[in-house]
Symmetry: C2
Subunit: 201 residues, 2 copies
């Protein structure tokens, strides 16, 4: 990636946005090429980025912190719902589930599933990446309960799983080939809001 | 596994349930040890099972058919709901989502996620395994619509994703560490049936 060509300076180089970017890019390139979280090393990332290990350690405490930032980069910013209605905000958030802004994500994200099952550290890393997104959805649901729009006895955690799960299995594994992803977020949100019983009971 | 010790007979051995089982076991052992679907070969499975390749080809048309049966073995029989109520049947089916009956499944199933993204053939294999389960859930939902218990305009495919997704992300990745899996199926089904809007509207 760009940023690596001029980065072959000694480790004493001052910390810079440019070096940070080259390091993140190097980590993502290695993951996209098939490195596992377990196997990837600070050494390999430093070599790929053309920086010294010390440059990495000045910015990140270690591999997990660096990978957390790298994987968050793949997903882009946490979406900020407009706050006009619960329905509209949830459609924005569900539409962002499993959505990524970097083509390398298609190779990297599915590979994380076996990894998060491999060790508590990897699972913690995964939680670290998704919790900020869950927090935004939680806030929308809590607001809906406060405003009387949603049931007072709502189980927020289960509801978040109900909103997230269908989109995630579809984006991650194309769970059902016949589902239309362009309308799925809206259908999930309307389904979860209204329920499927006849007569709206 | 058992069944391999006495299987070191020449390839001409008659087809038998015992050989079939040894072949399935060998395939699952290799997958559990980290073989990918792409890398696993009929040769390796035959060697591990102590049978000749011809024995495998008398029973299965090729690797995909054999792996389909092996992976189905991990999941056990397709659950048969009792047919008393839509709610009860859905709880049975959602409770079976991501459920497996073999300890090797914990190592194998998450590893399939990257694989189903790797090629159309792997995705077809995955669909082949899950479609019989979807068919049972579809039938329950269609019965609910026919009986007037569920909305006449129900989007069956989206509803199946709404029921399956939350349990699958939880069982597959422990999506939310705070969710109680023992009550999750019931909560998902009740949530999807009733909706989350205040006043049941």
């Amino acid at each position: 990636m760009t940023g690596t060509a001029d980065a072959a300076r000694p480790p004493g180089r001052p910390r810079s946005v440019r070096a940070d970017e080259a390091i993140i890019e190097a980590a993502l390139d290695l993951l996209a090429e098939g490195s596992t979280i377990e196997a990837i090393s600070i050494e390999a990332i430093a070599a790929r980025a053309g920086v010294g290990k010390a440059t990495i350690y000045r910015r990140w405490s270690g591999k997990d912190a660096l990978l957390r930032d790298a994987l968050r980069t793949l997903k882009g910013n946490v979406p900020q719902p407009a706050g006009r209605s619960v329905r509209e905000d949830l459609i924005t958030l569900v539409g962002a589930v499993g959505h990524t802004i970097d083509p390398r994500a298609e190779r990297i994200m599915p590979c994380l599933v076996p990894e998060v099952n491999r060790s508590p550290e990897h699972h913690a890393l995964y939680q670290n990446i998704i919790e900020p997104r869950r927090a935004v959805m939680r806030e929308v649901l809590q607001r809906g309960v406060r405003d009387g729009e949603l049931r007072a006895d709502l189980d927020i955690d289960v509801t978040m799983a109900m909103l997230t799960g269908p989109m995630l299995i579809q984006r991650m594994m194309r769970w059902h080939p016949d589902l239309d992803e362009t309308t799925l977020a809206e259908k999930i949100v309307d389904g979860v809001l209204a329920g499927i019983r006849a007569g709206g009971a």
